[in-house]
């Protein structure tokens, strides 16, 4: 697998990382979510890429 250039892949991982971190920070600071917080923690961390997006779209309470 020496052909794999990690420098090319790294940005994707970094972006995914940022999404997870931002989603987590938002989740911790917010007072209300749709559904239990612990569930969102699991979704954000373990559902790759889609997890944080799901949280931002559906988890934050629209007010």
């Amino acid at each position: 697998m020496e052909a794999f250039n990690w420098g090319l892949i790294a940005p994707i991982l970094v972006i995914q990382g940022i999404l997870i971190i931002v989603a987590m920070i938002d989740l911790i600071r917010t007072d209300y979510t749709n559904g239990p917080k612990w569930l969102w923690v699991l979704i954000i961390i373990f559902v790759s890429t889609l997890g944080p997006i799901l949280y931002f779209v559906l988890g934050r309470r629209q007010r």
């Binding site: 090319l8 995914q16 999404l19 931002v22 989603a23 938002d26 931002f56 779209v57 629209q62």
Partner: protein, 252 residues
């Protein structure tokens, strides 16, 4: 202006200014990178069956950027629709609009502040996404000029503008965010169906933007079809916003 600044602040506080660009970037570069590594990926999952040889297609840069656009047209549009579904509907459902609309606020300003702030977010995200995609393409597949990148961004941005305008239109019409998203997606799907059925008559239908963009990249010139389609898309978007203002005003 006050309303517009509030929208920007809100989209910053609810992190839309962070996650939307990131997601658009991810979607834009996913396909270029996976197609580049396709041989290795096939290898790593066990290789090809004995005896068959894989004819790896050589992707031309325009084809690769079109992959980015097709990702954006499916998942990207979905994300934009979900992201914008509550911008007015949610405020009306919750009741904040009661406090806003008793102030001497023009309905026109209320709608356009939403529209412009969303467009700003969408266009900047799109530009960042295509910029990274362009960077990878130049690195991995070959030359695509910066001017071409700008042209693609401009014409494809018009398509996303139409999507946002549709969403605003349903937002002004309906109070339920979920329904707004559903109807927006449905409309886009119906439009693509109409486009397929009546393709020969509707040459300047907005859904054709992508294929004209590809033509432009292949032939290196702006076709009248592309420009006309762009104009139609713009006019439709503006018409939708005007209609939104009108429907919003006549409520009750």
């Amino acid at each position: 202006m006050t309303l517009f600044k509030k929208e920007l602040l809100e989209n910053w506080r609810n992190k839309k200014w962070i996650w939307v660009p990131l997601v658009i970037i991810l979607l834009s570069i996913m396909d270029p990178i996976t197609s580049y590594y396709l041989p290795q990926i096939i290898d790593s999952v066990g290789g090809l069956p004995e005896g068959s040889t894989l004819e790896m297609p050589e992707f031309a840069p325009p084809e690769v950027i079109m992959m980015s656009l097709s990702q954006l047209s499916s998942l990207g549009v979905l994300v934009l629709v979900l992201m914008s579904m509550g911008t007015i509907a949610g405020e009306r459902k919750s009741g904040v609009t009661e406090l806003i609309l008793v102030k001497p606020v023009a309905y026109r300003n209320y709608i356009t502040a939403k529209w412009v702030s969303l467009l700003m977010l969408v266009w900047i995200s799109l530009f960042l996404g295509l910029l990274t995609s362009w960077y990878y393409i130049n690195l991995l597949f070959g030359d695509l000029s910066f001017v071409e990148l700008l042209q693609i961004t401009f014409f494809y941005g018009l398509w996303l503008t139409l999507v946002v305008s549709l969403s605003i239109f349903y937002n002004a019409l309906i109070k339920t965010p979920g329904l707004v998203a559903f109807l927006t997606i449905l409309t886009i799907m119906v439009m693509s169906l109409i486009n397929q059925v009546f393709n020969h008559v509707l040459e300047w239908f907005p859904n054709n933007l992508s294929s004209y963009i590809l033509d432009m990249l292949m032939t290196d010139q702006l076709s009248t079809d592309l420009i006309a389609t762009a104009c139609v898309t713009m006019i439709l978007s503006i018409a939708l916003v005007v209609a939104s203002i009108y429907t919003f005003r006549v409520k009750d």
